[in-house]
């Protein structure tokens, strides 16, 4: 039957139907839902690892033992796991290992828009790229076959648009949601085959593996020529389009009459198919998001081709972007209509902001008050950088802030400095730089914003949550004991809603001449659904000082005679009442106590 599925749901089903028994990953938009869906299938083991490198190593171990494995990550997560990707490419694996990697053109929720096709070339592993949910399901099966036939990890590349779009998938089984058990591939029992020269990558053995990897690539290039995953589609012989993934869908709308080389495998490329398309048409263009990855290969073949001089290198494609670029280059006659014509009004923007009731707000308001320079990290709390809080001054990648603050402190900057990192991010990559502060005689202060869950990506479990991905109860990692074990002698735990206490502890730590850590702990109210009666304003007492507007809480707005709090939006956390100097805001039961 036909069923609408997101790309991520289809990846999970594809993995299950292919007999994958293990799934590992770290949450990261837009990849997160692959593992959430996979974890629900019967008979599988799935885990959120603390970071992507751990996830890939766990996956490698299971694959060494003969199991089929998926490892999921967003594009920047593969940077974290890159070391493991490169050794796994050399060793190969007994069971199939498929890494599902989600790029994020347009940076809908990422710090960059790196094109991870280069990782395939860099690590010498094949990469597949589906164009819709049906292909997402099918390509996982193909990826496992390739992985086992060629003794290599395989990367399946998706992006935000494919992962989060729904399209029609043919599924079997009663209601389509549960796969027919007979359809699921079965695997032999796990056992580890000892083979020291293949799996121990010391120089002497690794030198023997590199030529094997090169030969593997040559065989994969032959496979790419003949496997129907790459297809030439007929057209009127004028324009030949080489494309893959979601870009194919936009190209089909803009160039309905063109000949196509639709690539399902974007590395290695089928040279003969490229030449065959070029022979059929008058002009060849490559339609690909981000970098000129395919275009560069085609140029090396000596085939005249247009690519990035026509289509943009930055941002996500859309039908109007592709059509507009094509019209400018004379490839089509008419551009899409200009959406700005007739619109003169400047409409107020609507940026994302910390939720009403968010525990992070109190910390950032306090940091703003003490004029600290804040070295931040990646999570909901990165929103503390936006006005009116404007209390984060760097954010580069997961785990960066704690290392960065140590460097700033080492050169003797006179400002009050502090690193801010979330609980999940601390477990991900915040612990080694914390060790570094102690080991290298640092004096930095670290604040761990501990809301007991990986909130930004949609509330996934982490080592502090007390639950696993498959909802089993487990021990919670104790952050303050971990910090003391590393060597932090000055560690305090605060309730972030208790403003007076936060301010007191913060000043004490910032002015101390030793390394220190503050754990600001309160479970995410959006996750626990904690909600108290709405706060109200006593307009008689309000002197319109504007303090409550400066905490950036969306229910609070300026009105003619003071401020107003929208009861439909207010969470009742009472933080605005805490910081009102005139006691003009009433909170019946705030979170401070």
């Amino acid at each position: 039957m036909k069923k609408l599925m997101t790309g991520n749901e289809a990846f999970a089903l594809g993995a299950y139907l292919s007999g994958a028994k293990v799934g590992t990953g770290y949450p990261g938009t837009p990849s997160t839902e692959i593992l959430i869906n996979f974890a629900r299938y019967p008979g599988v083991y799935a885990e959120w690892s603390p970071n992507e490198k751990v996830a890939l190593d766990v996956g490698v171990g299971a694959a060494y033992s003969g199991s089929r494995v998926i490892v999921t990550t967003k594009h920047v997560g593969l940077n974290v796991a890159a070391d493991s990707l490169f050794y796994a490419s050399y060793t190969g694996l007994k069971g199939g290992l498929v890494i599902i990697n989600a790029d994020d053109p347009e940076m809908h929720s990422s710090q960059n828009e790196q094109d991870n096709r280069y990782y395939a070339k860099f690590s010498k592993v094949p990469m597949l790229e589906p164009a819709d949910s049906q292909e997402a399901l099918q390509f996982i099966g193909t990826a496992f076959e390739i992985s086992e036939a060629f003794d290599t990890p395989v990367i399946v590349r998706t992006n935000t648009r494919l992962s989060h779009s729904k399209s029609v998938v043919e599924v079997s089984g009663e209601d389509g949601s549960k796969a027919d058990p007979e359809e699921v591939s079965t695997r032999d029992e796990a056992w580890y085959e000892r083979n020291i020269p293949k799996y121990v990558m010391v120089p002497g053995f690794a030198r023997r593996r590199h030529p094997v990897v090169i030969q593997r690539l040559e065989k994969l290039a032959d496979y790419a020529e003949t496997n129907p995953i790459n297809q030439i589609l007929p057209g009127n012989g004028k324009l030949g389009v080489i494309t893959a993934g979601v870009a194919y869908q936009y190209a089909r709308e803009v160039f309905p009459d063109a000949n196509y080389l639709k690539l399902g495998m974007v590395y290695p490329l089928p040279v003969d198919l490229v030449k065959k398309l070029a022979d059929q048409v008058e002009r060849v263009v490559v339609v690909e998001e981000l970098e000129p990855f395919i275009e560069e290969h085609v140029r090396l073949l000596g085939i005249p081709v247009s690519g990035k001089e026509v289509f943009p290198r930055c941002g996500e494609f859309s039908p109007e972007k592709v059509r507009g670029s094509a019209a400018k280059a004379g490839l089509v006659e008419v551009s899409s209509p200009d959406g700005s014509v007739g619109i003169t009004a400047q409409l107020p923007a609507r940026p994302p902001m910390l939720c009403p009731g968010c525990a992070h707000r109190g910390i950032f308001y306090a940091l703003q008050r003490v004029r600290a320079v804040v070295f931040g990290d990646i999570g909901c709390y990165t929103l503390g950088a936006l006005p009116p809080l404007s209390a984060m001054h760097t954010c580069g990648c997961m785990g960066a802030g704690v290392g960065v603050v140590h460097g700033v402190d080492k050169v003797g900057v006179k400002d009050r400095t502090v690193a801010v990192i979330g609980d999940s991010t601390f477990f991900h990559s915040g612990i080694p730089p914390a060790i570094n502060v102690i080991y290298n005689r640092g004096i930095s202060t670290i604040i761990i914003l501990d809301n007991r869950v990986t909130a930004m990506t949609g509330h996934q479990e982490n080592p502090g949550s007390g639950r696993t991905l498959q909802k089993e109860g487990v021990k919670q990692v104790n952050i303050e004991r971990l910090l003391r074990g590393i060597g932090f002698d000055k560690v305090d735990v605060v309730n972030p809603y208790d403003f007076a206490e936060v301010l007191r502890v913060l000043k004490d730590h910032l002015d101390a001449d030793e390394p220190s850590a503050i754990v600001a702990r309160y479970p995410c109210v959006l996750f626990t659904r904690e909600r108290k009666p709405s706060c109200t304003v006593d307009l008689e007492a309000c002197n319109q000082c504007g303090n409550c507007l400066r905490i950036g809480c969306s229910p609070i707005s300026k009105v003619a005679d003071g401020v107003s709090i929208d009861p439909a939006l207010c969470n009742g956390c009472g933080f605005c009442a805490e910081i009102c100097p005139r006691k003009a805001i009433n909170a019946s039961g705030g979170n401070a106590n």
Binding site: R161, P348, A349
Partner: protein
Amino acid sequence: MLIAGVGGQGTILASDILAEVGLQCGYDVKKSEVHGMSQRGGAVESHVRWSDKVYSPQIETGKVDFLLGFEMLEAARWAKVLAPGAVVLINRHRVSPPSVNLGMETYPGEGEIEKIISNRGGLVHWVEGTGIAQELGNQTLAGVVLLGRLSLMLDAPEEAWLSTISRLVPEKFIDLNVLAFKAGRKIFEAKGESICETSVS
């Protein structure tokens, strides 16, 4: 069809219903949304396309036949994508963005919103979605009220809508959602406006 709103307004459920109804009526369907930041009060939009064959999951600028504005300002923001003669259903509901809360910018008036949309060739229909939803006791039903009104403009039987709602909504909320959907149909029928649009992108 494009649904525009603010995180937490139920745009994803509404677009799921819209997509499933299309599939049930035999169309090829794609729907697309970016929801990484949606829980944090940011703007969200969902594209839903029904046709014999759909390639792009995003609708091209100038080809949106129906715009459902779950929030007034967001409806105005998406006027840029409308096809000439597009139908724009706007929920008469306002969620102020931060700059308006702080008094730095002003929220556009209803007349201004209508003008922005009509300048782009759209036909505005105001719907008291949130008002009706509040009467039913749950503000988040506003989107389903809008779907009810939209349902009379699309070539899909009422039964397809009702069965889809029953399938996608948690069991204890089915009755409320069906009531909201029917309320949306009723206000439209009562006004006796003509129903002629069936082409969809």
